[in-house]
């Protein structure tokens, strides 16, 4: 559906996007993840034909952005970052403007979009007066009014409150059932919750590109268990746990009230029963045993925290 190859864009001497290539298949929800300033917005702007790449090509639905930008604009719905809509317009007027530009007759499409995005109760308000969440939803309505094949959303949940974030995320998931969706975010949790596929981008380059499940299992391969006990000194507990089955490493943790350890499992098996049995056998009192569910956070940090990771 979307093919990007060798995409490069510089602003002065700053390379915002550097030789980016990826393919998005039809019906996928793809998350663009990266720290601020990584080049997410620039990439999405090139996909939506707002800016032209210095080199490289963008193909959406078989149309090339160089010669048929207008065709691409027809089949995509694009919501720019922070939904810069016309503040002086009434929601209904704004949507009907967009509908007319897109050559849609009648009220049907406006009513549908308003229904899906649940903005019917603000249709006669000024866009300027809307809360951020409603504004974002009006922006979504603007993007889906013509039932596009491709939906491009730049930071659709930034600046929203937790309830609104869940609502928007569900809405995106719902829309993703019938459309190809690309969304960008710098919040990890976001992509984990909503996307089938993740492209992590840093300094204008792709740092990782895989399905959400694959990336997650790559991290989850290593489980860490934080353990706080009494009834044994560290060395003692260390020796016993280190010898236990399935334990790769035991490290001390900083806590003066308890004997605290960080147990790293070697495989993907749960080692908590093993620890429990060791505790029972040796008469330790467990005050805390917590399996740290490592999320993508670690991969993300590893891949984007500078350092020498250009080859990943």
């Amino acid at each position: 559906m979307i093919e990007v190859s060798g995409l490069t864009k510089s602003y002065g001497s700053f390379k915002a996007v550097d030789n980016l290539s990826f393919v998005v298949k039809e019906g996928e929800i793809t998350g663009f993840l990266g720290p601020n300033g990584a080049g997410k917005t620039t990439t999405l702007r090139m996909l939506s034909c707002y800016i032209e790449p210095d080199s490289g090509s963008v193909t959406v639905g078989g149309f090339n952005s160089k010669d048929s930008a207008k065709e691409i604009k027809k089949i995509i719905g694009y919501l720019p970052e922070s939904a810069p809509l016309y503040g002086d317009m009434i929601v209904y007027d704004y949507l009907s403007f967009v509908a007319r530009v897109r050559g849609l007759e009648g009220d049907e499409s406006i009513r549908n979009a308003a229904e899906i995005c649940r903005i019917r109760d603000v249709m006669h308000k000024n866009i300027m007066e809307l809360s951020k969440g409603y504004r974002q939803r009006v922006g979504l309505a603007h993007a889906i009014i013509h039932d596009p094949q491709v939906l491009i959303l730049d930071e659709p949940t930034s600046g929203l409150d937790p309830v609104e974030i869940v609502e928007i995320r569900n809405l995106i998931k719902e829309l993703g059932k019938s459309k190809t969706v690309i969304l960008s975010t710098h919040i990890l949790h976001e992509v984990e919750a909503a996307c089938d596929r993740i492209i992590i981008i840093d300094k204008g380059r792709i740092a990782a590109d895989d399905t959400t499940a694959n990336l997650q299992s790559a991290v989850r391969g290593k489980r860490n268990i934080c353990l706080k006990i009494r009834g044994a000194l560290f060395d003692e507990a260390y020796a016993i746990l280190k010898a236990a089955e399935g334990v790769e490493r035991v490290d001390p943790l900083d806590d003066s009230n308890f004997t605290s350890l960080m147990v790293t499992a070697s495989g993907s098996d749960d080692v908590r029963p093993v620890i429990f049995e060791a505790a029972v056998k040796n008469g330790w009192v467990i005050y805390e045993m917590r399996q740290e569910f490592e999320s993508l956070e670690n991969i993300f940090r590893e891949l984007t925290s500078g350092g020498n990771n250009g080859e990943i």
Partner: protein, 236 residues
């Protein structure tokens, strides 16, 4: 509709937003107060049934008023970021520029239309020559088109409406002034007066519609709009 759908839709949206902001009413009020004052001041003084007072003043009035009409057209979109929305809708760059141009031109005609009451007044007290009156309004249309195009151009280079206003005013005022300062220049530079807006406008408002004057205004408009399109495309 059809081919012009885009232009009409953009123009309609712009026109609507003109009248939803106070600037439109302020501009119209200021324009009518000034033209009314200067028109009737001389009207009773000279005791002539004609509208020359209005049309002599009009080019200078337009220099101040039209920049205020055009300053927001692109500058505001740049400032608020809505330009990104507009440029990612399936509209051609020319459709956007022509749509905004049409909206400003229609707005100017709406602003100008109450001055038809002056004409009614003149008819009531005498029998004016219709030629110069018709010429004056036709000239006003073309003059407005040229100045609006210049305003569009300067509105597209900045995100600050005040800057757009001042640049447009500077350009419009220079073009108004140019045929007046040629008397200070050597006669070989006399051709410069052909560049002046007032020079061409006064020709038309005498009731003589010469193709040279019309071509002048159309060329200025076309050139300015072409540069506007180029600038918007360059910024991508």
């Amino acid at each position: 509709m059809g081919r012009f759908n885009g232009i009409i839709t953009v123009a309609g949206k712009e026109l609507r937003s003109y009248f939803s902001s106070p600037i439109a009413y302020i501009v119209i009020t200021v324009f009518l107060i000034f033209t009314g004052f200067f028109f009737f001041k001389d009207f009773f003084y000279f005791n002539q049934a004609e509208m020359r007072g209005l049309f002599q003043l009009l080019p200078l009035m337009f220099c101040f008023v039209l920049p205020a009409v055009t300053m927001r057209l692109f500058a505001e979109e740049r400032h608020s970021g809505s330009l990104e929305i507009l440029l990612t809708l399936p509209l051609g760059m020319w459709e956007i520029v022509l749509g905004k141009f049409a909206a400003a031109l229609i707005f100017t005609q709406i602003m100008l239309s109450p001055t038809l009451f002056y004409f009614v007044t003149v008819v009531l007290v005498g029998s004016p020559d219709p030629g110069p009156v018709a010429g004056g309004y036709i000239g006003a249309l073309f003059l407005a088109a040229a100045l609006i195009s210049i305003g569009l151009l300067f509105s597209s280079v900045t995100r600050n409406q005040i800057v757009a206003f001042i640049l447009t005013w500077g350009a419009a005022f220079s073009l108004w002034l140019i045929d007046k300062i040629t008397i200070f220049l050597p006669s070989s530079l006399g051709f410069l007066s052909y560049l002046g807006t007032d020079f061409h406008f006064q020709n038309i408002s005498r009731g003589v519609i010469d193709s040279r004057d019309i071509i002048y205004f159309i060329s200025v408009s076309a050139l300015a709009m072409m540069f506007t399109v180029k600038i918007l495309e360059r910024r991508r």
